[in-house]
Structure formats: structure tokens, C-alpha cells
């Protein structure tokens, strides 16, 4: 309030008071204001193009998606407003719910167990021993292969008739399973392939975090008689919590949007056991051409991802300010 009054007192539309204020400071003040304005404009000039680009790539499509989701719009036709009818239809779409269950199951298995494996690999490979670099390289290598190529390779590996995995199993007297054609096993097979592809990357992230844990902390805990497990539990893991947040959040949100593996390896089959939400959105939008309906499914997925992201950040950020 005081500031407001002071500003009011020096306003140019108060002639009496304006006379009492020296001319030079007023010019200087104007100069400062202009400089601030210029500063903001310049800053906007620098970040503006990026903001415009981000808006065009992310914000505008999201808004358009939201608009489509309340229309009956078949690609190539005209859109007609239907309110929440698409959302109501999605709720009654059994394939959507099956896809949702498959997607959540995939995300939980991939990220839940995958993070443990990545952490285990990071802890094993963050020490000093001969050949450490080679092991890291081998685990990281699949990351250099695209998901599409990896999916094609694994489709062949998993082939129960002439794939090498079952051929090896047969040699040792085991009847290899039908990796991609058994409805109970197909999703698990895709999870295995996804681990192969992704664990290396998250292992590298966690190695960086583990090696960044201040050594004096570990040393102090050991001097106090803490066991290795105790050090891991009470020193290492709390210290790498931001990295864990990054791993769980990025991997988890990526897993909720899994598409390539299902599309290439099984096309959602057998008996829809690997149908995921994004595959459902894709088929509804680009095969059935029901863009409005697919948009409502995409909006639901966006909402779920945002909620999960929000709670994940909150949960992992607990106590980070005052460890």
C-alpha cells in the first residue's frame, strides 16, 4: 500500500505534487521503467520463438484435441458438436477398458521391476573394477536401436516356429512357449523386450546419481558401523531420490504411451491381450477415422498422465528441501 501511495504521489496527473518533485529523478524513473520494459521485451525476443514453437507443437494440438473430443468428426468429413457423448461412449467401450488394464499392467511391470533392475545394475557398475566400461556399454547398447527395429528383431527372436529362443530351448529338451501368440504371455514378452531396450539408459542416469553421492556421507555412516545395506538404504537411496523421480516419471509416462511394440509385434493381439490405449487411439483415429472419439480417448490419457505426474513429483519431492 505504501508503495502504491508513493507512486500515486509522484504521478504526473497530480500537478501540485508534481511541482514538488524534482525533474531529474522523474526522468530517471521513466528511464528505469523503460529499461525494465525493454528488458522484458528483449527477454521475450529471446524466448519468444521457442515459446511460439512449443505452443504450436504442444498447446495448440492439445486445444484442438479438446475441441475434437466434443465433436463427432470422421477424418475427411465435417465435425458436429456432440458434447460429452464421446466420453460417455468411451466409458462403455470394453476394448478401451481392456486396453487401459493392459497399459497399466505394462507400465507397472516395466517401470516397477525395470527401475529395480536399472538400480541394481547401476549399483553393481558404479564401483571400480576391471571391464566396468564394457559391461556398461553392453547394457546401454540396445538404446542405440530404435523401438521399431528392436520390435522387428524381437518378433523374429520370439517366433515359436523358427525363432532362435525356442530353438535353443528345444535343444535342451524344453518346449519353448508361444511368446507372442499366447494371450497370457504376450504382454510379458513385450515387457521383456522393453526392459532390454530401456534399462541401459536409466542405468546410466542412476550410475551418475550413485556416483554423485558425497563420499564423506558414506564414510561417516561406515565409521558409525552401518552395514552396506544400511548405507544403501539410509544414505544412497535418499541421495539419489531426484534421479529416481526422473527415472520413474519419464519411464512411467513413456510406458503409459506404449505403442510401437504392440503395433509391430502383435498388433494388439492375441485376443486383444496387448492392446494399449495409444494403439486404441491410433486405430480409432487412423483406421476407423473416428477422430472425435479418438480425441476423447487421448484427452483421458492426457488427464491420467497429468495426475500421475503430479502425484509422482509430490511423492518423490517429499523432504527434498530439508533432507
Amino acid at each position: 500500500m505504501a508503495v502504491g501511495k508513493a507512486r500515486g504521489a509522484s504521478a504526473p496527473d497530480s500537478p501540485g505534487q508534481a511541482r514538488s518533485v524534482p525533474a531529474v529523478p522523474r526522468t530517471a524513473r521513466r528511464h528505469v521503467l523503460r529499461r525494465r520494459e525493454d528488458s522484458r521485451l528483449t527477454a521475450f525476443g529471446f524466448v519468444g520463438p521457442a515459446m511460439v514453437l512449443l505452443a504450436l507443437v504442444y498447446v495448440v494440438p492439445t486445444i484442438i484435441d479438446g475441441i475434437y473430443s466434443i465433436t463427432k468428426y470422421q477424418l475427411g468429413g465435417r465435425a458436429g458438436f456432440v458434447g460429452g457423448a464421446n466420453y460417455a461412449a468411451v466409458v462403455h467401450d470394453s476394448l478401451f477398458w481392456q486396453s487401459a488394464v493392459n497399459t497399466v499392467l505394462f507400465a507397472v511391470l516395466t517401470v516397477g521391476l525395470g527401475t529395480l533392475f536399472a538400480l541394481g545394475a547401476a549399483l553393481l557398475l558404479s564401483g571400480t573394477f576391471v571391464g566396468k566400461g564394457i559391461y556398461r556399454f553392453i547394457i546401454y547398447l540396445p538404446q542405440s536401436i530404435s523401438f521399431a527395429s528392436g520390435a522387428v528383431i524381437w518378433t523374429w527372436l520370439y517366433n515359436s516356429q523358427n525363432g532362435p529362443i525356442d530353438a535353443v530351448l528345444e535343444r535342451i529338451g524344453i518346449n519353448g512357449p508361444a511368446w507372442l501368440t499366447d494371450p497370457h504371455l504376450a504382454l510379458i514378452s513385450i515387457v521383456l523386450m522393453s526392459w532390454w531396450r530401456d534399462i541401459g539408459f536409466y542405468m546410466v542416469v542412476l550410475i551418475a546419481a550413485v556416483e554423485g553421492v558425497p563420499y564423506p556421507l558414506i564414510e561417516a555412516a561406515r565409521v558409525d558401523g552401518a552395514s552396506r545395506l544400511r548405507v544403501l538404504w539410509n544414505v544412497t537411496l535418499p541421495s539419489i531420490r531426484p534421479a529416481m523421480l526422473f527415472v520413474v516419471l519419464t519411464w512411467g509416462l513413456g510406458a503409459l504411451q506404449m505403442f510401437t511394440q504392440s503395433y509391430i509385434m502383435t498388433d494388439g493381439g492375441p485376443v486383444n491381450s496387448t492392446y494399449t490405449i495409444v494403439l486404441k487411439i491410433y486405430t480409432d483415429a487412423f483406421q476407423a477415422l473416428h477422430l472425435g472419439y479418438a480425441a476423447s480417448e487421448a484427452f483421458i490419457l492426457l488427464a491420467v498422465c497429468m495426475v500421475i505426474g503430479f502425484f509422482a513429483v509430490r511423492w518423490f519431492s517429499r523432504g527434498l528441501e530439508n533432507p
Binding site: R35, D38, S39, L41, T42, A43, F44, G45, F46, G48, P49, L75, G76, G77, T155, S160, Q161, N162, N175, A178, L180, T181, P183, T266, D267, G269, P270, V271, N272, T283, F286, Q287, A288, L289
Partner: protein
């Protein structure tokens, strides 16, 4: 105050300038001479403005390049047409790249053909979306069920005027030519008939003591039981394969069996409307028959035709299959020599063999800039030697009737395709066929995996397909 030091302002060193720029970027202007700050501000504004202008100029330049390219081609010089050769095998691609396209370009030196391919399973999506997005190829191969969808979306160039004066049209299989008409307009021309019949492996038959190929449903199942090979409880060679794939193979199989059983998928109504009639006694008989192979351990869901590899029968993994002669074309020479195509099945010993044909067509994109050049290319593909070789490589019957008398088709392994065409009915097509076939595949899939009973699967077909027919 700071600005009162004119010397510092007049002769700024490079280091000072750098510091000033650094401070300025950080927003700290208090230590600089006003004139220097002003000049930096101007410079920054210029940078910001140039970035915006750069973006605009870039976009404009890009657009002008596109416009220039369009204007060049629209004058008829050095025309490039794109051709999407859907489902082309490596042999077909090699034939086109090494022979067809170079020969065509020799005759039409101003036209260049740029060919690409996608597997059949992806072609639905590719064609539909590219037509709507305005990026479709000038000429493309279409499967049997694509025409209504593409034509209704104004994606196909009307060919009526070309076909009217086309001498080849008279020689074409007329029902197949009619299959290229939608809403009274000729939108596509047929280049082959994918005719299904029984394909069997002669050496496996001999080994099992079977002397003649099956002609009825019952014989087919009895023979499958004799032919199936198991090891450790698992099927190693299917008695009969039913073309499970990652596309719509199962929908086609069910449709064929339904037709053989005397049923039909749709009943046409007035004004192009249709009703789903697959949930009938014939539908039940057809689906029960198909499911019995999986329940009885004569066929296995583990054998999937992935589209980029030959089907199980061509790999020696099945003794019989209902397919077209592509199974022969795709097999290695040693297996191909053992494969024989014969008539389609009869549902009972007293009924007639009933087959099914899928009319594959060529279409031109509605918004092509070069319709005449595109038609030049399409009509060139009907040169008898070109069409005959192309269809042999695909293992599908040619649509030019005069080719039936040529040595390639009057005898030999592909002759059966033309024989079977006499028994074939054209696969029924509706506006929403692409979606219907996806749904149908999914439901039949659930039935053969025994996740759904046959009556429940048929009921699900009714509930899912009926709304689609209403549009």
C-alpha cells in the same frame, strides 16, 4: 553516475564489451554507459527481430520453393509421378525397378516414376490418411475393400473418361471392372483377382497315405487330422492353416466359410443401405467349423502370417491352406514344387464348390497434378507381358481375359487361379468395410482362442457391425 566516465564509454575493450553483453543478458544494466547499453539493446532487439524475420522468411522461402516446384511440373516438363505398390514382394519390386519403370520411362522420357511400397496390413491406414491429408501418391494399388472408403472421401480421380476410350477395357474381366465403380463412377481398374482355393503339400499327402485332395469340408478336416504333426504336445506342422495374420485374414476366412455354407455377410437394402446377416445358421456352421480345427488340435494359433514373410504353407509349416497361388510364388523352389492348388471346398458333398475373389485395383489420386501422366503409367501396366509377369509374381489371376490362353496361364502352377475364378464370388464390400473387417477379425480371433463361444461371438458381430453399417 557511472556514465560520467566518457573515456570508458568511448574506448571499450573487447573484454569490456563481452562483460557488458554478459551483464546485459543477465538483466544487469546498472554498470554500463547508457550509450553502450542503448546500442546493446538495439543489437538485442535486432537479434530478436531477426529471429522472427528469419522464421518468417524461412517459411515464405519454403512455400515459394514448393510453389516453384509445382509451377515447374504443371508446365508438363519433367513430371514425376509417385506410385504406391501396396503389398509388393521383393521380386515384384525388383521387376518394377529393373524392367517396368525403366521401360515406361523410355517410352515417356518426360515422366519419372517414383515407387514405394507398404505391406497390405498397413495400406488401409496409409491410403486413408494420406488421401485426407492431401499427400497420397499419384497412382496406388488398392485392396478389395478400399474403394468405397476412398471414393466417399473424394480421394479417387474419376477414370470414366479414360476407360471409355481404352481398348484394353473390353478385354478385362467385366465383373472385376464393375467392382471399380462406386456411385456410378469408374474410380479404379482391376489388375488381378486374388482367388482362393485349397493349396496342399503333395509330399505330405503321400506320406500320410492320402491319395486325392479334399473336396468337402468334412474331407478337409479328416485329412487335416491325418496330416498334423506334433512333437511334445505341440503342433510342428499344422494339418490345415487358416491364415491368422496381423491384418484382416481371419475376417476373410470367416467370410469365405460363411459363403461356402450358403450364407452372406450383408443383405443390401434400398439406397445403398445394408444389414449384417452373418449371425445366421450358416454363420454358426462356418464359425463352428473353423473353431473345431483349433479345438481339435489340427491347427494352431502359434502360426501367424506376419505379412513380411511367406505364409505357413510356403514354409512347410502347414500341409493345407486355403489361399491364392501366392503361396506357390512365395515358397522356396523345393517347397513350391510340392505345392498344388486345387478347387475351393464344398460345404457338403452335394453342394457346389464356392470360392471367393478379392479384386485388386489401381487408382489415381483425386488431387494429382498429373492425371494424364498417371493414366499413361496405369495403362502401360496393362501391356500383356507386364501384367502377366506382375500377376505371376503375385500368384494372382490376371484380369485380361486374353492372357488365359498364353502358356503362362493356360497350364502350369498358376492355371488353377483362373480355373477357380469360375467358382468365385466377389468378396462383399461396404462403405465401412475397413473397420468392419478389423472388428470381425478381433471377434473371430476370440472364438478360435476359445475366449468366446460361437453364439457369443456371432452376437458380438451383430452388436458391433450393425451400427457401422448405419454409418
Amino acid at each position: 553516475m557511472v556514465g560520467a566516465d566518457p573515456a570508458r564509454a568511448r574506448v571499450p575493450t573487447r573484454l569490456q564489451q563481452a562483460v557488458h553483453i554478459g551483464n546485459y543478458i543477465k538483466g544487469d544494466l546498472t554498470v554500463k554507459h547508457p550509450s553502450t547499453a542503448r546500442s546493446l539493446r538495439r543489437r538485442s532487439r535486432r537479434i530478436a527481430a531477426s529471429l522472427s524475420v528469419f522464421g518468417l522468411v524461412g517459411a515464405t522461402f519454403g512455400a515459394s520453393q514448393v510453389a516453384a516446384a509445382s509451377s515447374r511440373t504443371s508446365k508438363g516438363q519433367d513430371v514425376t509421378i509417385t506410385f504406391l505398390n501396396v503389398g509388393a514382394s521383393p521380386q515384384v519390386l525388383a521387376y518394377f525397378n529393373q524392367t517396368v519403370i525403366p521401360d515406361f520411362e523410355k517410352i515417356h522420357p518426360n515422366i519419372t516414376v517414383d515407387m514405394s511400397t507398404v505391406p497390405w496390413g498397413e495400406s488401409f491406414t496409409k491410403l486413408q490418411t494420406s488421401v485426407v491429408a492431401g499427400t497420397a501418391d499419384d497412382v496406388f494399388v488398392m485392396g478389395n475393400i478400399m474403394l468405397p472408403t476412398l471414393a466417399s472421401k473424394h480421394g479417387l480421380y474419376p477414370l470414366t473418361k479414360f476407360v471409355k476410350n481404352w481398348s484394353v477395357a473390353r478385354d478385362l474381366n467385366q465383373p472385376a471392372l464393375k467392382a471399380g465403380i462406386w456411385d456410378g463412377v469408374q474410380y479404379a481398374v482391376p489388375f488381378n483377382l486374388d482367388v482362393r482355393g485349397v493349396i496342399y503339400n503333395k509330399s505330405m499327402f503321400k506320406k500320410a497315405g492320402i491319395t486325392s485332395p479334399p473336396t468337402t469340408w468334412n474331407e478337409y478336416r479328416v485329412d487335416a487330422a491325418k496330416l498334423v504333426q506334433k512333437s511334445g504336445g505341440q503342433i510342428k506342422v499344422e494339418g490345415a492353416d487358416w491364415a491368422i495374420d496381423n491384418s484382416v485374414g481371419l475376417a476373410q476366412t470367416f467370410n469365405l466359410l460363411l459363403t461356402e455354407a450358403g450364407g452372406q455377410m450383408f443383405k443390401q437394402g434400398p439406397n445403398g443401405s445394408a444389414t449384417f446377416t452373418g449371425n445366421s445358421a450358416a454363420g454358426k456352421k462356418a464359425l463352428n467349423y473353423l473353431v473345431s480345427f483349433y479345438k481339435g488340435g489340427l491347427s494352431s494359433t502359434n502360426f501367424i502370417d506376419v505379412g513380411v514373410a511367406p505364409p505357413p504353407i510356403s514354409l512347410g509349416e502347414a500341409a493345407m491352406e486355403i489361399n491364392n497361388a501366392s503361396a506357390l510364388a512365395d515358397a522356396s523352389p523345393s517347397i513350391a514344387s510340392q505345392l498344388q492348388m486345387t478347387l475351393p471346398l464344398k460345404a457338403t458333398s452335394t453342394s457346389k464348390p464356392v470360392g471367393m475373389e478379392f479384386v485388386n485395383k489401381l487408382g489415381i489420386y483425386a488431387r494429382t497434378k498429373h492425371p494424364n501422366s498417371a493414366w499413361d503409367f496405369v495403362s502401360y501396366l496393362y501391356t500383356p507381358t507386364v501384367l502377366s509377369k506382375w500377376d505371376q509374381l503375385l500368384g494372382e489371376a490376371p484380369t485380361e481375359t486374353s492372357l488365359a490362353n498364353t502358356p503362362a496361364w493356360s497350364s502350369g502352377p498358376f492355371h488353377a487361379e483362373l480355373v477357380n475364378a469360375k467358382y468365385a464370388q466377389v468378396f462383399p464390400v461396404e462403405l465401412q468395410s475397413t473397420v468392419i473387417d478389423e472388428d470381425l477379425t478381433s471377434i473371430v480371433d476370440a472364438a478360435i482362442y476359445q475366449k468366446e463361444t460361437v453364439p457369443a461371438a456371432l452376437a458380438q458381430m451383430t452388436s458391433q457391425i450393425t451400427p457401422l453399417l448405419k454409418g
